[in-house]
Symmetry: C2
Subunit: 199 residues, 2 copies
């Protein structure tokens, strides 16, 4: 994959990202909330991710996923291995309460695989604690270290203003808005932003 | 799927598109080249698609697909059923020589599934005969009749100027260009256009 080739050829300070955990230590410039640890997801995390993941998907307001997605289908979509990765934010250093989760995968295959795609699901119970920002910052840093050259979001629903504001504050810009790209359950047909950040 | 719901609720003249062939008769306003028929692909077409499909993918100049894609992987990507469809352009009315092929699928799942995604592979041996334009026009008409509200291309390599010119002439517009989104084997990092047309 180009992402791996890039990782080998770029000057990074992260060493072999594929075979170790990335912790707060590696991303000291990120304002991870006190008492929260971001680490790679493991299989045992899924049962703690699925309850809030399924609630967010079923609401149908922010993700273009089937609202009746099953746990197995969602797990296949979300729990990813290299060249992608999945992260969780948990309480404390040994915690298992999942506050939110992030996924990074190549946005395209082949000669488009140096562009990362990121996706995020934040447990509503941990809203307002900065978990989304910390996960996004972690995902960006991880993607950069892994050799991705940019990160692209294909489908940010324009009515999801909190997400748009967050990504914008983190240096993502709106490349385009697909008109009427999303059939919002409350607002009807609304635009979808394509957002992008050079890493 | 929203596309099916839309098909049921929209005023179309096409009847039950899911259970019949769409032929030139249905798309009389499309300049299909003389002697060429566009029909839905069947399993027996794949061995005639794969030779030129694989050549195009291996060249790596226009598609963000793995250049070592296998026939089975490609068939799974390309030969699609409802709510998508795959078409072939063949010689004559009963011909089996495949001149080119088109695929239409929902660009997103769930509440994004009213936007179609289209993709096209033209046999280089039939270049210059208008096969690409005819297939694209057919795909657009089919998608409209099936209830899709727009068609989006996520990844038109900007150096593929023939494709950009063709889509533009057919009413697609460039919504955005993802900077350095494609690692072209000759030109290096070039942009990828997101293109869009309301149906």
């Amino acid at each position: 994959m180009p992402a791996n080739r890039d990782a080998a050829s770029r000057d990074t300070t992260s060493g072999d990202t594929a075979n170790r955990d990335i912790t707060n230590r590696d991303t000291a410039n990120i304002a991870t909330p006190v008492g929260v640890t971001i680490r790679e997801a493991v299989a045992e995390d899924w049962p703690l991710i699925w309850p809030f993941f399924s609630t967010i998907v079923a609401a149908g307001e922010t993700y273009a996923l089937p609202q009746d997605l099953t746990s197995d289908e969602a797990r296949a979509i979300w729990m990813r291995e290299r060249p992608g990765a999945t992260f969780v934010a948990v309480e404390g250093t040994g915690g298992t309460d999942v506050l939110g989760t992030a996924k990074v995968i190549p946005n395209q295959a082949g000669r488009g695989s140096h562009v990362a795609n990121g996706a995020f699901m934040i447990n509503p119970a941990s809203s307002g604690r900065g978990v989304g920002r910390a996960l996004a910052a972690h995902a960006v840093e991880w993607a950069r270290a892994a050799g991705y050259r940019s990160m692209q979001f294909n489908s940010v629903v324009e009515t999801n203003t909190a997400a748009v504001a967050l990504w914008t504050s983190m240096g993502f810009r709106i490349l385009a808005t697909v008109p009427e790209g999303f059939d919002h359950p409350v607002h009807g047909l609304v635009g979808i932003h394509v957002m992008h950040k050079v890493l």
